[in-house]
Symmetry: C2
Subunit: 328 residues, 2 copies
């Protein structure tokens, strides 16, 4: 009989600080650059009848474990049933003997590891004195990106835009209570990004709503929302003009923000400057000067889930947190 550790969303939240998550995700990128990991193809199944999606991301990281994230996304759950849009688990198997180690909630980890990835993009690509942030999309990810950015730079102000004004109002209230910097609502994407050093796009949009002519020299863009075929937030001319860094070449070409620019022939694989891991490992330079526009295209890698959830698993063992269950 084998024992398995079960960690709830609140266990994971209590175990992991944003600093832990950033450190785990940076480790994931290092292993990505060193190829001491494997990413399996992503499986996406559409549940057409109920407008739901079921997605599996898996792989392994040496010195960590095998990990599989199984996550559904039902975008109408909140209005229809008062239920969360995301529901799923991460299961960790030991690399050496394949035994199940832990099963934990996937929602919180997905949110914070995505925030951490965006912050690492900014850490390695944004201008050093960046302090004004524009956030598109006042959802969970809009919150997570700012919480993570706050760990890697000194934020002075955040402007948030959402098509749903009430969501933006709620965002400002909630985030103002949490952080010391100034947080305001913007009336349009254009006003949000005026004077921004860093632009975070974190909406589920399928069409561009940030135009090329609004983008000023020196800006860094974290393109977070577009992570599956058909999604897009930026004018493809921005992608063509920026220094493009991706989290993973194959995933971004297929499902990232850059997919449209590639399809339109505005960007070729050879135009992609680097994978973020190459910059972290100092194999390629990051930003060259203060005028460059940099773009980090983040689709989300299973290895980020693995290192982050494994960190939670180890901390839970140390601190005696979670529920131990018979499984095998």
């Amino acid at each position: 009989m084998s024992k398995v550790l079960i960690l709830s969303a609140s266990d994971v939240k209590n175990l992991l600080s944003m600093r832990d998550v950033i450190s785990a995700v940076e480790d994931a990128f290092r292993s990505h650059g060193r190829r001491t990991m494997k990413l399996a193809p992503i499986t996406l199944t559409l549940i057409d009848k109920f407008e739901g999606e079921h997605e599996i991301k898996s792989g392994y990281v040496e010195d960590y474990s095998i990990g599989t994230k199984v996550l559904t996304y039902y975008k109408h759950n909140q209005p229809r049933y008062g239920l969360p849009a995301l529901s799923g688990i991460i299961v960790l198997h030991a690399l050496k003997d394949g035994q199940v180690l832990a099963v934990m909630d996937a929602g919180y980890i997905t949110s914070v590891r995505t925030g951490a990835a965006g912050a690492l993009g900014a850490k390695y690509l944004a201008r050093k004195n960046s302090e004004n942030v524009a956030v598109m999309g006042a959802g969970m990810q809009g919150r997570s990106q700012v919480a993570a950015l706050n760990e890697v730079l000194g934020i002075k102000s955040v402007k948030v835009y959402d098509v749903d004004r009430q969501r933006a109002v709620d965002y400002v209230a909630e985030m103002t209570a949490k952080f010391d910097f100034k947080i305001e609502q913007a009336d349009s994407p254009r006003t949000a990004i005026r004077d921004a050093d860093i632009i975070v796009t974190a909406t589920p949009s399928n069409s561009p709503y940030v135009l090329n002519e609004w983008i000023q020299a020196g800006v860094h863009i974290s393109a977070i929302g577009a992570d599956s075929p058909g999604k897009q937030e930026l004018d493809p001319a921005i992608v063509a003009r920026a220094k493009v860094v991706v989290d993973d070449m194959s995933q971004c070409v297929e499902r990232g923000e850059i997919q449209t620019a590639i399809r339109l022939g505005l960007l070729g694989r050879q135009d992609i400057h680097a994978e973020l891991s190459e910059i972290i490992l100092e194999r390629k330079p990051g930003r060259a000067n203060d005028k460059e526009i940099t773009l980090f295209d983040a689709t989300g890698l299973a290895i980020q889930d693995i290192t982050t959830s494994y960190r939670a698993y180890r901390l839970a063992q140390e601190r005696g947190i979670g529920t131990t269950c018979e499984l095998g």
Copy 2:
């Protein structure tokens, strides 16, 4: 906060009779024939350094749920560490809103649903008076196939062959204690299949060990072992000569027993008589006469895991079995 039901291997074993499993798997085949289900591509990741495999099978079945099985296979675990070769979970999500319903051990369900699929192949394809069974491979699956066959026909005798003689001795002792029919060890594959009405191949072989000239008219073969690229148990001439029925066309062509005959050009897709579901739904005939050699190629479908584990989930709810955990 959401509650999730956790079921251990022994919970599942206590909940499901072989009759329940056969009924659930037959339901899976019906939904397969009616296309009221979806099978996602299988993800297989090799953990080369430790000679392990990590496999994900997923999909959904209408009127049941979404299901994902994440299972590792480390074939050296028993001799090396005294650990089971298989370790994994099945997670069920509700079809309508995607919420996680249950997480349960995958090992026992994989074993019995595969047994049930083999038995259904025999129920619909073997001669009605079949009573003598030859089993290749004295492992867990050799046991499960016989336990399931015993529910669909009157077994008179079982002959078992294994390259490891001690395993066959143990099999005979264990199965004789469980069942009333005669169970004997065979010295070779050839002597095992002499006078057999049904041949079950359930080894991890990568090369053929059952030759065409040994196969007599009227036999039914359940080809269970070959379920991934490279695996093979039968002389491809047997496949070319038999009436071939598959559990799923795409999976069997790519990873089933028939993969080699297809690659060699001895069998084309058009030569495959049917998917088992078409025979169960009476859209195509099964066995035509008592002389025909029938072959059921079973690669194992995620939908079998889904209907079987969902059955366990519902029975657990009715009977108050399992552990309820906070997850979301």
